[in-house]
């Protein structure tokens, strides 16, 4: 496998009402991304954002922990780390007025790579009212 990973995934909690500290406590994980809508935030460079957050976002990625050019290992890692099968999660998301998604990086320069998202993971996200989005690069 090359140094540049051809696939990885990030779990997002999204919505105008997202309070990152709440989700950090809930999942017990320090996020890679924490943005409050309307407030300045720290960008990946370490510099403050030049505009207030346009979205509320809490995100944890798999890239630093999983080495695979396929999506499945990344998605399964996030499901286990965040314990997404925990009871009451869907109700909590609805109560908080937020959505979840897997935001998937998919590098496909050759054009012949097909994203691998297993059916059980699709079903799980659907049961939580979440989505899986493939962000493809060629």
């Amino acid at each position: 496998m090359s140094e540049h990973q051809l696939a990885h995934a990030t779990f997002h909690v999204m919505g105008d009402s997202v309070t990152p500290a709440f989700w950090t406590d809930y999942f017990g994980i320090k996020p890679d991304t924490a943005i409050i809508r309307g407030e300045q935030f720290t960008t990946p460079s370490g510099r403050p954002s030049r505009a207030p957050g346009r979205v509320g976002l809490w995100g944890v990625g798999s890239k630093s922990f999983i080495r695979s050019d396929q999506l499945e290992p990344h998605l399964r890692y996030l499901i286990e780390r965040l314990d997404l099968s925990r009871p009451g999660l869907r109700e909590l998301l609805e109560r908080e007025g937020v959505k979840i998604r897997f935001w998937c990086y998919w590098f496909n320069e050759t054009g012949d790579r097909v994203p691998d998202v297993p059916d059980d993971i699709r079903a799980m996200m659907e049961s939580l009212g979440g989505t899986i989005e493939i962000d493809e690069y060629r």
Binding site: T10, H12, T33, S45, L57, Y105, Y137
Partner: protein
């Protein structure tokens, strides 16, 4: 003053009459537009700022909506650029297919609005 139209000029005169009638009709139509158009008196006057466009051509910012060109313009290899863009999009409320424009100073625009500076997402 009355004057005679030379025989050879009658056709031209008829055409001139026809054109005049058409112009008059257009003028009537145009006058109808003024009844429904927004009065210009409500518009704010533009402020003349002579320095705003005084730069040389080479000082004008280059821009592109092509990610491969943008990567080269901003000094990133393709892999690094796509990694940065993958984080840049959700952090700024953009979807996978949203077509942004990169300027050579790193500023990114979407639908004509400033989004953020791309270099701020490099780490």
């Amino acid at each position: 003053m009355a004057y005679r139209i030379p025989k050879d000029d009658r056709i031209n005169a008829a055409l001139a009459q026809s054109a005049s009638t058409a112009a008059s009709a257009l003028a009537d139509d145009a006058s109808g537009f003024t009844d429904t158009a927004t009065p210009l008196g409500d518009a704010q006057p533009f402020e003349y700022t002579p320095d705003a466009v005084s730069g040389e051509a080479e000082e004008q910012a280059a821009s592109t909506n092509n990610p491969k060109f943008a990567a080269k313009m901003l000094g990133y290899d393709q892999n690094t650029f796509s990694d940065i863009l993958h984080n840049f999009k959700p952090d700024n409320g953009l979807g996978p297919a949203d077509n942004v424009i990169w300027h050579d100073n790193g500023d990114v625009y979407f639908n004509g609005n400033f989004v953020a500076n791309f270099h701020d997402w490099a780490n």
